[in-house]
Amino acid sequence: MAAVLTATALPRELTPAQRALRRLARRRGAMAGLGCVVFFVLLALFAPWVAPHDPLATSWSAVRQAPSAHYLFGTDEIGRDVLSRVIWGTRASLLAGLVSVCISLALGVPVGLAAGYLGGWVDALISRITDAMLACPFLILAIALAAFLGPSLTNAMIAIGISATPIFIRLTRAQVLAVKVEDYVEAARAVGNSHLRIALRHILPNVVAPLIVQATLAIAAAVIAEASLSFLGLGQQPPAPSWGSMLNTAKNYIDNAPWMSVWPGLSIFLLVLSFNLLGDGLRDAFDPRHK
């Protein structure tokens, strides 16, 4: 009987992305961060079912009650359940983080691409405007924009998104400049590909990795920025629950109702921490030199 030659499967060649994800999976911190983010996302999606009380239901008799069996996190200044408001508030904070960064990406990446790829006076103009925006302190720009647009969650997201755009413009532009001189790009040009095709097909994919890292870290910063704007009265307005606006009200009662500020503050901390961990992990995963 002839020996059966079992064809051992050759190890499949992994794409760079898959290799990066593998590296990511090995980092405990990043996985913990990811898990936490997923937890918050689920909390936000299933808030109506998870929250024990209506976050808007006021109760005159239960004003500023300490945590109890009925109200696990206590009640706020007009008798609403803090736990339910924290759970529902996840939506506002996650939205603030995600939508702001989407705005920044949507505005920043094309502009950065244009600046890096086209060069010349377009680049000079865009770079000067970007420098100007970066020279104004981010929070002040966001405050001025939010005051200009009016206090609401939507406007806060727009304000944060616009304020964070220059970072993505710079990042994209730098990546494009680095990639532009690569051989394959020159080859593609020589073959006669249109600028747009080159930009989208050859340059953009190489920009994605650092953008993902920066975007994740930017989400963390955006969540804090939303809390800061709400703290100043410019973000999500009551009665709609948002961690930042809850802290804004809670600061008046730190002495006699500390639970009002502990839980929203802690939630902001955890969410931001998770995104930071995830972002760090992604950065290390995409760039093996950083250990």
Partner: protein, 503 residues
């Protein structure tokens, strides 16, 4: 042997001497940073607190809101009430040494009326001219009798600044104010502190027991209180109601509460612009009545102000001598509210309540929203930055507006600009000739009984038409070191340093 006694004696003397020359400083925490320190241009409430120590006025108010002399000693109305003759106190000088005489008073009143950007013009509009009768007597001539004039002169319009300094500094007088109050200006660091020191030639120096007064604006109420607790401040104004229980047990501090002369209310757009027609509240007085009936004022004060407010239904508080008693404060009646809405054909009216972003206004708005919901109202709370809200109200671009008013000593100050046709603060757009006539008559007579009767008639109209649903009158909450005594609690909410001292 003698030396043993000498050293301790010298030391003791040094200590006593030191104590005698140690400066007593009163440190007061304010809720905001005052604006420009020029009585003609000033427009903030906290500015008036600082002025109390810095600039004396012709008249002042006492705890019962009576007019009492300060720079003036007495006054007489002419027979037709079109001229007010004021006798000035002798021997009063400004901080720069200039004499306060009738010429100085005339200069000041004219400055209030004519200076560019003056905020006192409207207040002194009824005064047509000022005559110097003699060095200590001045006469104000009016176009028509104007009863609130004396009360107006207890506020910034009655404050006297040194003509010499005012002419020298011109529009920048506010950076180095020179007045005639118990303390003179030393320095101001914007948003940090205002430092005043004792004016040695003050006419009433027996009543002054501090060498320096320092005002520190600290916006956050809990931080303000923390400063009081830690001993960095001796006095704070506008303590948060929720902090009262926590401080009550502490014997190091005392709390004072006075009912304000202003109010918190909801202004309704009943005719300011076209939006009034689209607004269910603006269109139909029954809907307004239903809205008022859906509110439990007592509960609102309990929840939103921790009980630190008096319910009311008028432009003055129930404990005010000018309160018209003919209309009682309505009780909550949800059933009747629903019935009214059904009769009006709008069982579920929906409107936006424009609310400034201050925490108090937000709280009250949310409680109102929840209460009105039970009667079928869908109230949308629209948070608007204060500056923007004033502008929108001015243009009539709102349905209902959660607006508070800090109040004036004479009820006319809470009434005329709000309910007379086309007046600047008449955001509701209320215009009823009968009401205008009643208000004008109430300004023209100085007879308190007659005025009260007129106020009663005005209240009958206002309570029925509801251009403003008055909710309550807040307590001014002051917290201060127990070492202080002699505090005078005047309902205008201004901290007075006269007679105040450390024990």
């Amino acid at each position: 042997m003698k030396k043993i006694f000498l050293y301790p004696l010298v030391a003791a003397l040094a200590v006593f001497a030191g104590a005698a020359t140690a400066q007593t400083t009163l440190r007061i925490g304010l809720a905001e940073d005052p604006d420009v320190l020029d009585p003609t241009l000033a427009r903030t409430f906290v500015g008036r607190i600082v002025f109390n120590s810095l600039c004396d006025k012709l008249f002042d108010l006492d705890e019962k809101l009576n007019i009492v002399p300060q720079l003036a000693t007495s006054y007489t109305w002419s027979a037709d009430h079109k001229a007010l003759t004021i006798k000035l106190r002798q021997g009063v000088t400004f901080h720069d040494g200039e004499k306060l005489d009738a010429a100085a008073v005339k200069f000041n009143l004219e400055r209030h009326k004519t200076m560019q950007g003056s905020n006192r013009r409207g207040e002194l509009a009824p005064v047509t001219s000022v005559d110097v009768v003699d060095a200590q007597t001045v006469r104000l001539n009016l176009a028509a009798p104007f009863a609130p004039l004396l009360a107006v002169l207890t506020d910034r319009a009655g404050m006297m600044v040194s003509p010499k300094a005012a002419q020298a500094e011109g529009a920048h007088f506010g950076t180095h104010p020179v007045c005639s109050g118990p303390f003179k200006f030393v320095e101001r660091v914007a948003q940090d502190r205002i430092v005043l020191e004792r004016f040695p030639n003050y006419w009433n120096k027996g009543a002054i027991h501090f060498d320096r007064v320092v005002y520190q604006p600290i916006v956050d109420a809990s931080v303000r209180l923390a400063n009081l607790r830690s001993g960095q401040l001796d006095f704070i104004e506008r303590m948060a109601p929720s902090d009262v229980p926590g401080l009550k047990g502490d014997s190091r501090f005392k709390i004072s509460r006075i009912v304000e002369i202003g109010y918190q209310g909801i202004t309704i757009n009943i005719g300011k612009s076209d939006q009034a027609q689209k607004n269910p509240l603006g269109r139909d007085p029954r809907v307004r009545e239903a809205f008022e009936l859906s509110l439990d004022r007592k509960a609102i004060t309990q929840v939103a102000m921790d009980g630190e407010a008096e319910v009311g239904n008028q432009w003055v508080a129930p404990n005010n001598p000018w309160y018209a008693k003919n209309v009682p404060v309505p009780q909550r009646d949800v059933a009747k509210a629903k019935a009214l809405l059904a009769a009006a054909g709008v069982p579920n009216p929906s409107f936006t309540l424009m609310t400034p972003t201050t925490s108090d206004a937000q709280k009250i708005a949310q409680v109102v929203q929840a209460m009105a919901k039970e009667a079928g109202f869908d109230v949308k709370v629209q948070s608007t930055e204060f500056s923007t809200s004033l502008d929108l109200a001015d243009k009539g671009q709102y349905d209902a507006y959660m607006l508070a008013w800090s109040g004036r000593a004479d009820p006319d100050g809470n009434l005329y600009s709000f309910h007379a046709c086309k007046q600047p603060l008449n955001y509701a757009g209320y215009c009823k000739p009968e009401v205008d006539e009643l208000i004008n008559r109430s300004r023209a007579t100085t007879d308190p009984a007659a005025r009260l009767k007129l106020f009663e008639q005005i209240e009958a109209h206002v309570a029925k038409d509801r251009p403003i649903v008055y909710l309550f009158h807040r307590h001014w909450l002051w917290a201060y070191s127990a070492k202080l005594s002699g505090l005078r609690t005047v309902p205008d909410g201004l901290v007075r340093v006269q007679d105040l001292k450390f024990n």
